[in-house]
């Protein structure tokens, strides 16, 4: 599967993506000439310090907002607006509180004017352990259940690309691990291309084929790390030395980038940067 993917054109290409926000206090360069490719069936994580433009980059990929310059290509075609091939999972579960779970999952189909594939949705609901909860309202569900419902909603219309914007950031550590396992399990089945923003390096390592580290604002692609561990990954892998080392390297890159900025500002010498893999 993966070898086939490398010979094909990338599923998602970001080329020199630059985004400037015109704010009241002047122009803000959020991301600066970001380029990256995502192969079909790949899971790619984007990590980086707060405010480095990760969300801006992801929203550009989803077509929710445009770029100041550069472009995003899906299967070789430029993305100019929301695309039916792309599913989005947001920071919060983002369920509509006035709709019960079934109506929430129906929401994309109401907007698109298409018919939901009930068998597929029931299968997804079963997989995430939400069968029989269709009549419940979001406020009656726990945070983890809400985020699982959001995952089902995003996958309900079988997108070929799933973009996740810090999807599990609001969950506790245990629920988060559980959700990570769930995402991998679904991915093993569907081979959906996934781009994931996260603050958790562990989460990035557990899920990704590649991890992209972004620099502080303006966001640029600072480095790319391959994650070589075999799938399905287990929690045991997560306590190996390899994972520990990779975590530290990425952590030092993120922290180091920030520290060197502070040093530059204060005039002190920059700290030694860890070697990149």
């Amino acid at each position: 599967m993966m070898s086939a993917a490398t010979t094909r054109a990338p599923k998602l290409q970001v080329r020199n993506a630059t985004k400037i926000y015109n704010t009241r206090s002047g122009d803000l360069l959020a991301i600066d000439r970001c380029s990256l490719d995502v192969q079909a069936g790949e899971i790619v994580s984007i990590v980086g310090p707060s405010g480095c433009g990760k969300t801006t980059l992801l929203w550009s990929m989803s077509g929710l907002h445009g770029l100041t310059s550069g472009n995003v290509l899906l299967d070789g075609r430029a993305i100019t607006g929301p695309n039916p091939e792309i599913g989005m999972v947001f920071q919060e579960a983002n369920l509509l509180p006035w709709r019960n779970l079934a109506a929430n999952i129906n929401f994309p189909f109401e907007i698109k004017g298409t018919r939901p594939d009930r068998i597929w949705i029931d299968e997804l609901l079963g997989r995430v352990g939400l069968e029989g909860f269709g009549g419940r309202f979001p406020r009656e569900l726990s945070g983890g259940m809400q985020q699982r419902a959001a995952l089902v909603r995003a996958l309900s219309f079988k997108p070929s690309v799933l973009l996740m914007d810090e999807p599990f950031g609001a969950l506790d550590a245990f629920t988060r691990e559980e959700m990570n396992g769930l995402v991998e399990e679904i991915w093993l089945d569907t081979q959906t291309t996934i781009v994931l923003i996260t603050h958790s390096i562990e989460e990035a390592i557990f899920l990704s084929d590649r991890i992209i580290v972004m620099s502080p604002r303006p966001g640029r692609v600072a480095s790319v790390h391959e994650v070589p561990f075999a799938r399905p990954r287990t929690l045991e892998i997560m306590s190996t030395k390899e994972v520990f080392d990779l975590t530290n390297i990425i952590k030092m890159e993120i922290v180091g980038e920030q520290q060197s900025r502070y040093r530059q500002v204060s005039g002190a010498e920059a700290p030694a940067r860890p070697a990149r893999t």
């Binding site: 929301p82 947001f90 509180p97 006035w98 929401f107 907007i111 698109k112 009656e140 726990s142």
Partner: protein
Amino acid sequence: MSETDAIPEFNKPGAAGEVGVAAGMSALAAGPGIRSLREVVAIILVAVVIIGGTQVLLTVFNVPPYIMPKPTEIGWALVTDFHLIAPHLGYTLVELLSGFAIGAVVGLILAAVITQFPFVEKIVTPYILLLVTTPMLALVPLLILRFGFGYTPRIIAVALAAGPMVMINAATGFRRVDRGKIALARSYGASTIQIFWKVRAPMALPMIFVGLMVGSIFGLLTAVGAEMVGGGFGLGNRLTSYSSMIQMPQFFAVVLILSILGILIYVLFFLLGKKFASWEA
């Protein structure tokens, strides 16, 4: 053991939802929900004590009915004279319902349209505020001069009183933009109209009910006030008429009917809000 201190339990709808529509958004809408039989009994007991106490005091001090009629006299007047008052209740209801319908529809449409254009909204808002704060009763003599003593000036006054109230609350509701939810709808390719009907409108619904409730009560006040200013019919007219004839039991019977009407309006919108907007706990 007070129930207000109880922690709402997870997976128990109603524990938090019972508090009702848009709790805390408007003092008028923030009334506590009645939950137990014990509370109902306590409320009735308070009424019995107040009414009974008034009866006893008025009897003991031998207060003449033209100063303050006894509750029993008021109750009796309500029974004997109801057939005389009932048509006027009908007239008032006609004014209230038609004026409120016009005001609410115009107010809702204006709120929905104006909130789509922030610039227009900024320009219009001070004038709406002016309409909200100006007592429309003040216009009634003028309206009577122009439209005569019939329904027309009263319906206009009611619409002018209710409309801006509905509008200002509904606009607050429509303005509650949740960027995440709008982004969600947009990610499925939703149009502006779809976003309005599927996201903005449902999100505004609790505030719309608050507006309808406040607007209808203001409409009732204005209808009765307008009837007191001029014209020979309606409950407000009965109030001036009965008081000028010193028929105080009948006067208070009308006041009682108006109170009940107001409470019924409140309960109606409270229940509607609970049915259609109870998700906002």
